[in-house]
Amino acid sequence: MLGALALVAFFVFLGGLVFKVSSWFRCSLRREREGFKRFVLGFSSLGKALFSPKIGIILKVLILNGILQRRTLKESPYRWLMHVLIYWAFVLLIITHALGKLLFEGYVSTALPYVFLRDLFGSMVLVGLGMAIWRRIRKTPPLRTSRMDLYALIAVLIIVFSGFLLKGAKIISYKNYLRMIDQYASLGSEEESKALEAYWVKRMGLVSLREVEESLVAKGEEIHQFQCAPCHTNSRWAFVSYGLSRALVPLASGFERVNFTEKLWWVHIAICLIALAILPFTKFLHLISVPLSLVINALWDPKRSHPLNLKTKQMIELDACVHCGSCTLKCAVLGAERVLGNIRILPSEKIEPLKRLVSKRGLSQRELEGILQGVYLCTNCLRCTVSCPSGINLQELWFEAREALFERGLSEPALLSPFSFYRGLRAEELGEGYERPILEIKGKLYRRFGLKDSVLRIPEERGFELYERSLMGCFACQTCTNVCPVVSQYERPEEVLGFLPHQIMRLCLLGFKEAVYGSEMLLSCLTCYKCQEACPQGVTVTDILMGLKMEALKAVKEERDEIRFVSGV
C-alpha cells in the first residue's frame, strides 16, 4: 500500500518536473519563443559541456556552491548555518530514514544508528527552521515573506514535527507494544510477559495499562536482550522523541482510544508524499533549479553562448530564485521603493511578477506598469547579480525584462532619464527595438503638452517652491540660451528645441509652466550647468529645467493613471 502510494507520488512528481522543465523551453520573456529549437540547443549544449573538460568546472561549482553553499556563506554566516542545517540534515533524513529500507541492508528504524540519527538530523532541521523563522520575524528591513516562503517553512516544520510526535507516541503506545509482542516475541509464561513489560515501562518509556513491579525489571532485561534488543535500542537514543513522549504520558490512554499512532503515521506519510508530488510547483524546486542555474552561469560566456540559450537560462533563473532577499539588501536604490510606493523596485520582488509575465497567468495593466518601473529604476550596478546565492544574472534579467515589456507596447517616462545610460551603451545589440520606446514616450509627452494643442491659459497656481525665488531675478537677457551648448548645435534651434532656456524661464515666471513641458529643450538638456553658471542674476536655470522635466515626466505617468481609472481596467 505504502509502496504503491509512494510510486504514485513519485510519478506525479516526475510528471510535474517534466512539465516544469518543458516550460523552461516553452516560455520566454520576449515574444519569439522558438521552443523546439531551444530544447534541442539547450540539451546539446549541456551534453557537450558534460563530455568536455568543462566537467571539472561543473563539479567544482556543484560541490563548492551547491553542496557547501559557498555563495550563501559569503553573504551571511547566519544564513549559511540556517540553510545548511535544514538542507544537509533534511537530505540526510531522506537517506537514513525515508529511504533507509531501500538503501541499507539490515535497516531497522528502532535500532542504532538509525534511531539516533533520525532525531539528530530532525533536530538539526528544527534548529535551522527556528533560525529561518526568527530571521523572517525580525525582518531585516526589506525582507518580505511570500506565500511560497511560508509554505516551505510550514511544510518542513510539519514533516519534521509530525515525525517527532509519531515517534514519541509510539514510545508510549501500549497497543503498539502488544502488537510487537504478538508478532515477534515468544514469551513462555505470564510472568515473563510481565517482566518484559516492566522493563519496557521502566526503561523504554512505555505506558502500560496495568501496574508493573520494579523487581521484575532485571528479569525483563534478560528477556529484552534476547528477544527485542537486536531491533530495539534504548528509546532514549531518540532523544527528542523520548523527551516529547514524557510530555505525552498523560495523553496515552486517549491516544490508544483513537488509534493515534496509526493515524499520525498516515498523516506523516501523506504530507511527505504530497510535498514530493507537488514539489515542482513549490519553492522546493530550487533543489533542482539552483544547481542548474549555478552550473549554467559558471559556464556562460556572454560573447560565445547562443542567444537562444539565454532565453532558456533566464527561465531556469526565474525558477531558481528562492526569495532570500540577498539582492534587495545590496540594491543600490534600496529605499526608493518606500518613497515611490512601488515594491517592484526591489530586485527580490521583481521575480514573482516576471514569472507571471512569462506564464499564461499574465499581469494586469497596473502590475505591468509597476514591474516596468521596477526594472527601469535600476542603476545597473551589478550588485544583485554578484550577491545572488543562486548565481542568477539578475541584472541581465532586468535588462531583458525591460525590452520584453517595451516589446509589448509599454512605455516608461524614466526612459527619458539618466537611467537610460546603460541601455544606451548597449544600443547596438538592441537593433531596431532600441529607438521605438524612446520615441513612443516622447510622442506621449508631445501629444499631451505639445505647443500645437496646448492653449496658453494662466494656471491657477504657480507652484515652484524650490526655485521660484531665484527665478524672480530673470530679466530675459538670453545669456542662458547663448551659452547653451545644445542650442548652439543648431542653426535654427527653436525649430528643433521648441522653447529655448530664456523663453522657458520667462514662461515659468509668467505661470505658463505646462506650456513648456512639451518643449524638446527639456529633453535635450545635458544638465551641464553652463547656463546656471553664466546667469548674471543667479537664476538656477539648470535646476529649473530639471525640475520642469521631472514634472513633465510625472504628468505623463499620472495621465496614464487617469486613463486607467476612467476605463476601469
Binding site: 518613497v339 529604476l377 550596478c381 545610460f421 541601455r423 544600443a427 547596438e428 545635458l526 551641464c528 553658471e533
Partner: protein, 267 residues
C-alpha cells in the same frame, strides 16, 4: 583627514579599473580611506524622476558616512555633484531635513550635516600637498601630450561644488603637469561628454562625444584625461561607432598619476 570611498554604481560594474587605480594611488599617498557597506545610488538618475527619492538616497549615503565620522570621497563627478547639492539643500532647509530624516529613521540612520563631500580631484589638489606627490614622481611622462576633459560636475554649479574656477580651472592641468606630461589646453575642455543624454537623445549625446574627441585630436593629443566614470565610458565606448575605429585613448587621472609614480606600467 578620514574618507569613505564612494564608488557609485558605474565603477564596480563597468569600470573596475578606476577603483583599482584610485585605491592604489590613495594608498601610496597615505590617504586614510575605507569603504562603507551600504553605500548605494547617490540619487543622480532620480533627479528627473522624483526629487524626494533622489534626496533620500543621497541622504542615506551622507548619513552612512557621518555615522563612521568620515567625509565622502567620490570618484564619480555625477555622484559628487548630486551628493553635494543634496547636502546643501538638506542642510539649508529645516523642514526638508525633517522630512528626509523621517525616511532615514526607518533604516536606523540619522543625518546632522557633519559630513563633507569631496571629489578625488579635490582631495588630490586641495587636501594633499601637491609637492609631496611631485616628490614621488619616479617616471616622468615627458613624452606624452594629454588633453583635459573636466567633466561638468567638477566645476558647475560652482556655488555648490566649489572646486575650482568654473571658467578657467587649473586642477587637471596642474595634476597632469605634475606627472611630467604636456598638458594641452583644448578648446572644448569644459564641455559636456554627452553621457547624460545617452539612451534618451543619442544624437545630441554623440555629437558632444564626437566634437570632444575631434577637438582633442586636432590638438594632437595622445590621451584625453578624465576623472569620472560616465565621461570615461562615454568617450571610450562610442569611438568605433563615430569614427570607425578607436582614434583616441581616454585615460583616467589616477592611471596617469600612477604611471608617473611608477606604480603602473606606462603606456
Amino acid at each position: 583627514m578620514r574618507y569613505a570611498l564612494f564608488l557609485g554604481c558605474n565603477i564596480p560594474a563597468r569600470l573596475p579599473e578606476y577603483e583599482t587605480s584610485a585605491k592604489f594611488l590613495l594608498k601610496e599617498l597615505g590617504v586614510d580611506f575605507t569603504e562603507i557597506e551600504g553605500f548605494g545610488c547617490c540619487g543622480y538618475p532620480f533627479k528627473v524622476i522624483d526629487l524626494t527619492t533622489s534626496l533620500v538616497l543621497s541622504a542615506k549615503n551622507l548619513a552612512l558616512a557621518e555615522r563612521e565620522n568620515r567625509d565622502i570621497l567620490s570618484l564619480c563627478q555625477c555622484c559628487y555633484g548630486t551628493l553635494k547639492k543634496a547636502k546643501k539643500m538638506i542642510d539649508e532647509d529645516p523642514s526638508l531635513r525633517n522630512r528626509i530624516k523621517e525616511f532615514l529613521k526607518a533604516e536606523g540612520l540619522n543625518y546632522e550635516g557633519k559630513v563633507e563631500v569631496k571629489h578625488l580631484l579635490h582631495v588630490l589638489y586641495k587636501d594633499l600637498d601637491l609637492e609631496r606627490i611631485r616628490e614621488k614622481v619616479s617616471n616622468p611622462l615627458s613624452h606624452i601630450k594629454v588633453a583635459t576633459h573636466y567633466g561638468c560636475h567638477a566645476l558647475r554649479p560652482s556655488s555648490i561644488v566649489e572646486l575650482d574656477d568654473p571658467s578657467n580651472p587649473r586642477v587637471l592641468e596642474e595634476l597632469i603637469t605634475l606627472t611630467g606630461a604636456q598638458s594641452l589646453l583644448v578648446n572644448r575642455r569644459l564641455e559636456c561628454c554627452g553621457a547624460p543624454l545617452l539612451g534618451t537623445n543619442d544624437e545630441v549625446a554623440l555629437n558632444f562625444t564626437r566634437e570632444k574627441i575631434t577637438d582633442a585630436l586636432k590638438h594632437e593629443a595622445d590621451h584625453l584625461c578624465v576623472a569620472c566614470p560616465y565621461c570615461k565610458l562615454q568617450l571610450e565606448n562610442f569611438q568605433e561607432r563615430l569614427f570607425g575605429k578607436r582614434v583616441l585613448s581616454t585615460i583616467l587621472i589616477t592611471d596617469l598619476i600612477n604611471m608617473a609614480l611608477g606604480l603602473q606600467k606606462a603606456l
